[in-house]
Amino acid sequence: MSGDRQDFGERVRMNLGAVTARASVRIVAAFRERSWLLGETLFPILSMATFVLVYRGLGAPRAFESFAVLGGAMIAYWNNVLWSMASQFFWEKEQGQLQLYLITPVSRMSILLGMALGGMLATTTRAIVILLAGIFLFHVPFPWERAPGALGLFLLTLGALYGLGMILSSVFFLWGREAWNTVTLFQEPVYLLSGFYFPVSALGTVAASVAGFIPITLGLDGIRQILFGEAAKGFIPVVWIVPIQAALLILYLLLAHRALLVMENLGKREGRLTIRGG
């Protein structure tokens, strides 16, 4: 009994160590490669600026410009989930490191959790810069006094979003060159479905409901409602969004755990875990 307890304690300690180690690598890497820092901040700013100017060109109310700025900041997280979370195992495979992860006695979930936490922290610096650029360069309205209320929903959304990233990473476990193209395929269509640049209610009930499975959709909708009230043209009330996001968080974590086991076993059987340039 005492041995089991000691064993369990050792496993927890080891997995916590894996979380911390993977998160630190992510944070250090995010600031070491300066060209990525520039690219991950500048591209979304350019994109956000374009859509702010589209609204300005159309003579839209100023709140719409704020929607585009908020969407621009959230895009940093979606891109991080796609490029550095979902497809991470593909990069690791290409560099010949995936097998090192697989022979360690820690859960894959711990590695992904570390990746997610590190990714969230590193991406937050980008998102803040994008948000501030929108507010100070384009003078879009931003009700700071309501920001603390939106923060809780934002954190819940991030949890569910990175949970989805963990599921996607299990799928990318096996993919080769098509992973790159698939990630590209998930960019613009999700910008549309999740309403990054416009209130998602404009998609209509059916499309917006389906899009709700991408956590950013309802998260962004709720955050806009908290900040801008009626002007946000919300899809569903915020009081519904919170439990939905919490449910998505739990569901995605459970699914990710299962999917990782299944895909790893499949990869081992088909001998695809160590193939490079596939």
């Binding site: 060209s35 990525w36 520039l38 690219g39 500048l42 591209f43 350019l46 994109s47 600026a49 374009t50 859509f51 100017l53 589209v54 609204y55 300005r56 060109g57 159309l58 003579g59 839209a60 719409f64 560099q95 080769g176 060159r177 098509e178 193209n181 590209t184 395929l185 960019q187 613009e188 269509p189 910008y191 549309l192 640049y197 416009f198 209130p199 404009a202 998609l203 043209k233 340039g277």
Partner: protein, 280 residues
């Protein structure tokens, strides 16, 4: 000349294999049309929300044309320079092209042809979708189509040679060139008024915009397709003058691109950068 053409053809074929052989035709077609379709619908919904449902508004038609044809800029411009990076860093085949009895520039132009082909799938689909589903009035008489084709090709020559110039930079710059190229794509999207009238840009940005060939290209395309001018600051410039400016800036891009690429290529060979491995 025959050797050059064969090299272009081989480059285009390799490019096609790299671009398309990872998927079945249906998936590849979905990939080619996903981006233009998504951005078109984003702009459509933005306009619909602002105009309270009056989506037939002229504003959307102009945004639509600019956004659709700008796909060529992002795909071809970035695609050509990206080919250098991938061949050198990922596939590690750039050095083999240099030891083969061919010149690299025609090979690169062949890769550019592939990108023009794949981008054309997206552009044609988006135009058809805009015309048939979103009700954008697209003139399609023979004269209009001939003018559209001519101006599109002229613009594409400029886009491709600017891509060659960026490919030159990729030859002498490490992995960072990808960010540079993609960043420039974003800057052009913003500065040439692809999806908004140039008039909303600050005066200093408008001055830069008027130096870009894409600004005149998109304005001409809009006038040909919809029959109406868009940008306020170009309203006083007639179609003939726009064409002349486009032709002049394109010629300058071709000459500048050729010499710039030649200089970068010489530098890369002299410094031993052809088989450089700077990615991780």
């Amino acid at each position: 000349m025959r050797r050059t053409w064969e090299t272009i053809r081989a480059g285009a074929w390799i490019g096609w294999q790299v671009e398309a052989n990872w998927a079945d035709p249906f998936l590849f077609a979905a990939f080619a049309i996903a981006k233009p379709l998504a951005t078109t619908l984003i702009l459509f919904l933005m306009t619909k929300l602002v105009s309270g449902g009056a989506v037939g508004a002229e504003a959307f038609h102009q945004l639509f044309i600019g956004n659709t044809f700008f796909l060529y800029v992002t795909e071809v411009l970035i695609g050509i320079s990206w080919a250098v990076f991938r061949d050198r860093e990922d596939y590690e085949t750039l050095k083999y092209i240099y030891v083969a009895p061919i010149r690299f520039l025609p090979y690169l132009l062949g890769r550019g042809l592939t990108k023009i082909g794949t981008a054309s799938i997206g552009v044609v689909f988006a135009l058809a979708f805009g015309g048939l589903v979103l009700g954008v009035p697209i003139r399609h008489d023979v004269v209009t189509l001939a003018r559209l084709l001519g101006v599109t090709l002229l613009g594409l020559i400029g886009v491709a040679w600017l891509g060659v110039a960026l490919a030159g930079i990729s030859l002498v710059v490490a992995r960072h060139s990808i960010n540079l190229n993609e960043g420039l794509g974003g800057v052009f999207y913003l500065l040439c008024g692809a999806v908004f009238p140039l008039d909303v840009l600050p005066a200093w940005a408008q001055r830069i915009s008027l130096l870009l060939p894409f600004t005149y290209w998109l304005e001409l395309l809009r006038r040909i397709v919809t029959g109406k001018p868009y940008s306020g600051i170009l309203r006083g410039t007639d179609d003939g003058s726009l064409l002349l400016i486009l032709a002049a800036t394109t010629a300058a891009t071709v000459v500048g691109g050729y010499f710039w690429f030649a200089w970068c290529e010489r530098t890369a060979r002299a410094k031993g950068l052809i088989d450089w491995k700077s990615n991780y």
